[in-house]
Amino acid sequence: MSAGFHIVVCGSLVPDPLQTLEPIRGPQGPGLKNEMMLPAILDPWAGHALFEAANLAASGGKVWLLSMGPKAKLQQVMMSVAQKAPFELVVLDGPAGGFTDAHFTARALAEAIEGIAGLDRSRLLLFGGWQSASRGAGSTLQMVGERLGVLDQFQGVDEIRVQDDGAFVVKERVEGGGYLVSRCAGPPAVLGWATGNLPEPPNNPQLGMANMRLIMPALQRAEPVPAEPGGLSFASVELPKARRETRLVKDLPPAEVAADILAWIKS
């Protein structure tokens, strides 16, 4: 029955993780300094969701990648992502930054999903990262799910196992390094992925070429999403200032270092 999943993966771009980030205040509220210049990647957890989706759909079904972000940046990021997994891209030309209200993002995404031609909502698995690396809220997918009337939702997912009858078993991360294991009768469902179990797939140029046939038109078609005035207002955004005075302990024999540490642990 996995042959039938229609998987929509919600995922946008975030700055490449090693970039230096600095907040600035713009006319539309806070943002990142040089945001358009920072190299970007697909949000890592959404990336895991995409790889898991492709893996599930390998035996049948279909994957859409739904991305809201600045079009020019998305075009660039897609050149990397397109080589990783087969999907059809749906683009919303809108903000991808962390300071955008998740409520706004969720509405835009839900409306886009409702507009996907050929999507069978009874077979829908809505995938995404359990948090974004920008907002880090972990709330967008649930709201998209609610808007689409999906009542079976899972977050912090590291594994999905599909059973013969079309039901699937899901493992979600819980406190203390444990997993909550649930069985869901079948789609539709929402799964917010943590790391999952799959390694990052290699770059497959042929896959990239195949995806590209649909990616460029999708980018060209992308409609700007009008900003929505909301009640969220930022008083400040700051980098943490604290730089600690690091005391260097050198040339001490290991036994003395150990004693020092022990005294500190016990203190």
């Binding site: 700055p15 993780p17 980030l21 649930q142 709201m143 609610e146 909301g230 690091t246 004693a259």
Partner: protein, 342 residues
Amino acid sequence: MEKVLFLAHNEEGGGLSRACLEALSAARDLAQGLGAELAVGLFGGEVSGAAEAIGGCGAACFLAAAGPVFASSRYASDAAACEALCRASGAGLVVAAADSRLSRVLPGVAQRLGGRIDTHLTGLWVKDGSPAAARWFYRQRMVAEFTRSERPWLMSVESGCFEAFDGPGAVEPEPVAVDLSEACKRTEVLGLETPSADEQTIRPDAELLFVAGAGWTKKQADGRTHVKEAEGLILDFLNRTKASLGSSKSLVDISGEGHEVISYLTHLHQVGQTGATPRHPKGLAACCHGEEPHVVGWRFIGERRAINLDAGCGWAQGKADVLYVADAFEVLARLNELLARA
């Protein structure tokens, strides 16, 4: 006038988790600052124990959505329960802990109520007569203070940011009816998979976080790796100190890629930009170099010390209180001896 609802679920044993007790403090402070009424909404299998644990919190009302269907953490039933509690309370502000169960359900509840949500708050206070909150963005790289005008406004607060509330008292919560359709039961919770006691190396309540880096698997001065030895040293240390284990990404990635590995490490241990940012009073890092953005893995650790052969260690310089320039293998071996004697 604003009304603040504290929303929580009971623990397996019947009480409230530390994270929930901390969130209650946040809710109380908020209500107090606003001069607002505090309400408590509890859901779960059996909530009377939880209610009693906080009976003295001064809430004007205690609401409960309890019963076996709510015993385990399932989105659909949790959402129905929370929605009912919020509606019954009529609160415009809802405060809860950002634990796994509530983090999963609250955004959906906000959507149902036509409200908004902000999660993982690290600060919550009253400014100019309105609630104001702080949270981190871009994986703990920058912190923002903000407020919002929409109601209901649901908020989840991070653990470790508020004192846990302590004030039991006898109360009889008022049951709230929840309309649970069959559609809410398509998911069946099979149970919890917890690592066995031997492998139990993530301990959120531990005093100390031990962060292991890829250095443990690198060639040492003798030109060889000593991974098995590292594995033993670290586990021994954790068992003796009951410290929690965290790891750099490099180290868990190595563990996943078929090299000689530290067997009990998984991606759940990863701290840093794409890992966890746990909160513990103390942290000890060994053999980590890391990179600026990833050192956020111990941003919320109180006192920090590090062991590295390299005095220029990026994980420590400017970020740790003390950097021991030493061989972590030797130090840990001695430390374990001392711990054994103590």
